[in-house]
Point group: C2
Chain length 340, copies 2
DNA sequence: CATAGTCTCGTAAACGTTTACGGAGATCGA
DNA sequence: TCGATCTCCGTAAACGTTTACGAGACTATG
């Protein structure tokens, strides 16, 4: 048997709905014996408070939305990237009875309009943004709606909200120093869609680091490609027939590495020998040939930090996370491979 | 300026909230001029009906939940697999004002309890299941709660609900026939966690097909592994030192292929030469060395079909999809590669 | 015994929306 | 002119929950 409303549960117990509600919500002014009865009955009859009624009354939904865009391959993150981050986020949220859901915006719908709609509806108590663009209207939009949010990634158009981003500056420094000291003079960069912010941050820092070594990053060695295998393959081919071929390339597109290797090989070049390749973060790095030199980062921990940062900006939870990072660049450590 | 309730919007227009609501919802008994004014004002002031209030009154949320488990690598499908499916699902849902969200169940929470909680709360009007297990209590649970649902995958414990699953029988037939006629006598299978249903369906059909050729599938040639690179690597090593090594292997774990190749190579074996490898469906199939022989399937179309199937089982939409498939095995076509 | 305090519970209002119902005014036909 | 019909709109109830408020029954204290 399944009971449908608090009214039914209350009738069944011969108690008022007020007391039932208080018992279920752990309020103090309810007899322990009564509470036990209520809890037992709720468990046995499968009663769970209705989401809409509860949210309407409390003014909060207990839901946090992580916005993602389907179809489009835009982020450049690999297959299990988000699932690992989510797992970390959940660990934190579970402590507070919050639920994480992924808000899936179709490739046929305008992301800004989608987000505005979802937020205006009061669907979630907080929002997590990813795939942040250089010019990204979502920041101003969320700011106007006064909803707590955090972004996984930076933007030129942010509004002072908290964020966590990979430390692309640190990554650029590490990679360029390594390549320069190993004698590379012409270095290329492969980055995803130009609208995304991360590629710009990376390239900018690369230029600074290279300048110290008296080197520069040539414009014709900055490649954009879809963060998938086909994109990487195309660039591999392009590199091979480049009139003034670089001797190394830094790849921000995780999903492109396999394709890049293959594209190079198809053109007769051996990655790691004819051209050094350094990647960002690939779970399959150890299983490529040659083994990919790339970075290690704990995605689950990143998720935990992301969740804590968001909660710290929500009045109801702020005191619980007094020293959560407000804005943080997530450190990454290089792991040696055979590719560069 | 942003308006927060229908009351404010109504006051601003000097109209009753009833009329405003009717105007916004496209009811007929409202003057066209009035409707125009309401729509214009709502747009300008950024009013969108509150989710909780609307859902509470209407008894439906307009949300469909797709359940996924984070952390656990169990399905073997990556982010891009589901993102493609989601994109198809969305195209259908968008036509009806439905929203798809991914319900993310943490690896620390019991999936059955999680689903029960979400459904009992009335969070969604319909549910999509994936990563279906051989014995999967979620089917009975959803059946008991009388909520429309569809599963991407089969189970021994289903309850007659609609499903769509990959045609593992067809796949098994194609693969085994191909291998047998090419002279392979000892054939292995790599499948994900034993709890999942798909591996059993596949193996069963393999046995039947092989029997026709006077062959059998040896128990010690059926491998289980986590559907990731590490899992594949381990099996690669294991195959190499197998006392009676098979000459071919069918791999259901998409995420394991890279690792498998590497594991074999590390042990001195060349995939496609020393041992034939046929995969399931890998976006990077063309970019591996050797090129992976595997199957092609349109994930976006699968998503469309999945959505239509669900809607067909929901009273409110059933008449719109009179000939949606109730239970369907999704066809897959083999693409030649160099691996087997 | 009177009073104050404590514990427990019931009552009712409120959250924001949709919608059944009915009423006012306009139009129309006889 | 008078119903009848139609168009448009306002009123109020209902959805399921939480919670402020107050009341009744005890207990403690003097």
């Amino acid at each position: 048997m399944v009971v449908k409303g608090i009214r039914q549960l209350a009738d069944h117990l011969d108690i008022s709905i007020g007391t039932v509600s208080r018992a279920l919500n752990g309020k103090k002014d309810v007899n322990e014996e009564t509470r036990r009865r209520v809890l037992e009955a709720a468990e046995r009859l499968g009663y769970v408070a209705n989401q809409s009624g509860r949210a309407l009354r409390k003014g909060s939904t207990g839901v946090i939305g992580f916005m993602m865009q389907t179809g489009h391959e835009i982020t450049g993150q690999g297959d299990t990237f988000f699932m690992s981050v989510f797992d970390g986020v959940q660990t934190v949220f579970a402590r507070h009875g919050l639920d994480l859901v992924a808000l899936l915006c179709s490739s046929e719908e305008d992301p800004d309009a989608y987000l505005e709609r979802v937020v205006a509806r009061g669907f979630a108590d907080g929002i997590m943004l990813s795939a942040t663009r250089r010019i990204d209207h979502r920041f101003a939009l969320l700011d106007r709606r006064k909803i707590p949010f955090v972004s996984l990634g930076r933007s030129l158009t942010d509004v002072g909200q908290p964020f966590i981003d990979l430390d692309f500056e640190g990554m650029a420094t590490t990679v360029m120093m390594r390549l320069a000291t190993r004698g590379h003079r012409r270095i290329a960069v492969l980055r995803p869609h130009d609208d995304l912010n991360l590629g710009h941050v990376f390239v900018e820092r690369c230029r600074e680091v290279l300048a110290v070594h008296g080197l520069s990053l040539e414009d014709d060695l900055i490649f954009n490609a879809s963060p998938n295998e086909a994109g990487g393959y195309r660039i591999g081919q392009e590199l091979a027939r480049h009139p003034n071929r670089p001797s190394a390339i830094a790849v921000l597109n995780d999903g492109s590495v396999t394709g890049l290797f293959h594209g190079l090989e198809a053109a007769g070049l051996t990655p790691g020998k004819d051209i050094a390749v350094i990647g960002l973060h690939s779970p399959q790095a150890r299983y490529l040939s040659p083994r990919l030199t790339c970075f290690d980062l704990s995605l689950r921990d990143l998720g935990i930090s992301l969740a804590e940062t968001l909660l710290a900006s929500m009045p109801a939870y702020a005191t619980l996370y007094p020293d959560a990072a407000h804005r943080r660049l997530w450190p990454m450590t290089l792991i040696d491979g055979d590719s560069g």
